[in-house]
Point group: C2
Chain length 358, copies 2
């Protein structure tokens, strides 16, 4: 198959040498090789994310942690902030689990505001509050750090952060921001093949789950953390091949450092926004724009589907339309995350300029 370079908001481009790392015969998940592999990726991830909390790497999409975070921590009531498709999904997941869900709703394109969170939390007793760090559907970056400051005043409410398309490309001080649980998928800013989810969990969350009457087994924090402590392995057979790729890419990420990746992503975001302002407009609220995915407002009435198709055909570069029927033609999205640099993004914007005759 012809190589198509990805600028969609996930899966993102994975470097050839990372893919080739999967070219290994299988080995047992209870062998020493596995202990070595799993402890290496867990400890390296802790280093990279600069956290002393528990780190779990689970074979699943990040969505699994949208579910198990709620199963493990919410007894009755949860407050979910929504500002786009993925944060709305978090609320739907909690509802499907039979939980009592209140929503703090924002129009698509707007960000969650700390003062609103405080007000909402004061009105009722919530076991947890959920917030998406980077709303992939709208290109909003919520002020997780400031919201975390608010949560510190509500010690009985767990702060659950979905960082699926942000973590690894947008620095967040996990241990300093009042976060109890934060998770991501590796096929986003980590630039790895999809199939693994990463979850960071603090002691309070671990302890609460342990004392809870019911919780997830597969996505249970307790089981993963205990198994790791006891044996340095995963509780169930993991995707060994993907973990081999993970190990190599995480070493690369450590070499670059989280702070430097953050800077590189900032540069790509700034470049993309400048370009967008020149030809179109940005969709998200000013001051809350994502560092990993830019949602651009299609102010020129360009045929988004056609341009995507032609850029793909002519240049072998792939970017995305707007999310869902609401935004599909009204916006388009450029994912600038993972291992891309400004020159890669420029390659795409040049191609769009050519095809759309900007």
């Amino acid at each position: 198959m012809k190589h198509k370079k990805l600028y969609i908001p996930g899966p993102t481009e994975v470097r050839k040498e990372i893919i080739e790392e999967m070219d290994e015969y299988m080995f047992g998940h209870r062998m020493d090789r596995m202990t070595d592999l799993y402890t290496t990726i867990v400890e390296d991830t802790k280093d990279f994310l600069d956290t002393d909390k528990h780190v779990i790497v689970l074979t699943a999409s990040g969505t699994e942690y949208m579910e198990s975070s709620i199963s493990n921590l919410v007894d009755d009531k949860v407050l979910c902030s929504t500002c786009g498709s993925f944060s709305e999904r978090q609320a739907k997941v909690a509802e499907r689990l039979g939980k009592d869900v209140d929503k703090l709703e924002y129009e698509w394109g707007k960000a969650v505001k700390p003062e609103d969170v405080r007000e909402a939390l004061q009105k009722d007793d919530y076991d947890a509050f959920t917030c998406v760090m980077n709303e992939t559907s709208t290109g909003i970056r919520n002020p997780i750090e400031e919201i975390g400051e608010v949560l510190k005043d509500f010690p009985d409410t767990f702060f659950i952060v979905d960082a699926i398309s942000a973590l690894g490309g947008d620095y967040v001080d996990i241990d300093g921001s009042g976060i109890d649980v934060i998770f991501t998928s590796v096929q986003k800013a980590f630039a790895m093949p999809p199939g693994l989810a990463v979850c960071v969990v603090d002691d309070d969350a671990y302890q609460h789950e342990k004392e809870k009457d019911s919780a997830s087994w597969y996505g249970g924090f307790q089981r993963s953390i205990d198994y790791y402590k006891r044996k340095g392995q995963t509780h169930s057979t993991p995707a060994v091949s993907l973990m081999l790729a993970y190990r190599k890419q995480m070493k690369h990420m450590l070499d670059e450092s989280h702070q430097e990746r953050d800077k590189r992503h900032k540069k790509m975001a700034e470049y993309t926004r400048d370009w967008a302002y020149q030809h179109f407009d940005m969709f998200p609220e000013e001051g809350y724009m994502s560092q990993t995915v830019s949602t651009i407002e299609n102010t020129r009435g360009m045929n988004v589907a056609e341009v995507i198709e032609e850029v793909n055909e002519k240049y072998d570069l792939v970017f995305a339309n707007g999310y869902g029927s609401k935004l599909s033609e009204k916006t388009f999205r450029i994912g600038h995350m993972g291992d891309h640099e400004v020159k890669d993004v420029k390659e795409l914007t040049d191609a769009i300029e050519d095809v759309a005759e900007l």
Copy 2:
């Protein structure tokens, strides 16, 4: 890393050409390529398993379906048959989910008997009955087909079958055996790299979940089935690389056919048992021995751990000790599943004979 040929009860040996199939650049999970890939593996799996029921391929270990089957189908009470570590795990998972669990318990090494199941089901109202097809810890093959006949007399009780180390190497007539849900992991008799679970679900189970107040989201049957019907894709980003390997291996399995794979596994099991009876004894109850993993009773007081180590060192072949502290030295296990043939098993038994001086 040196190639070690696997005869453990999973992950099993994966052929080089299947591993190499993962050597592809990433592509989007909402692209036509993905629709083509996912519909191909789902439809081929239906063909292979000879079922008209729904088939789901999910990024997870099979354990995820131990959990979500219960979440999706059990309102109150479930009866779990236990006869070893993995069937006991199924009961623990249900308990962890807060369900009311009754157990039909058997000693390790004994099989679940249809008449006992009937008696137990008559005593109470159960939303579901769980049974492991192949108890990997003891090498027992439960009479799923006969148990299914019993379940047909209890139409309000779902029959959930964990076929994790059997399906693909031990033929079962899914549609004719009263089974509502049956699941496996691909790293066992499918001989694929781990990270995907396969679940077959009938309409009754689908419908019950839909009407249920709470259910799993990630492991929800409904969501996976509906998304497949609407778009031919998965509800969340799947492990694309593993699905590429899956496609190639499933074509190979179709070429061989389920019935022929069944015969080949039967031959390997018979060979292994004959060898075991010559030098040791078989651990499981007569008449209920697994076709994919033989648990051999260490009647000679052989140092199992040492022999495993030396066979690994000298021959680069890997087999397994007994499961858990109870059986670790009392038994040892030979996995004869996936793409192995009798000659491969003989290679291993010859090595054991040499090292253990049999």
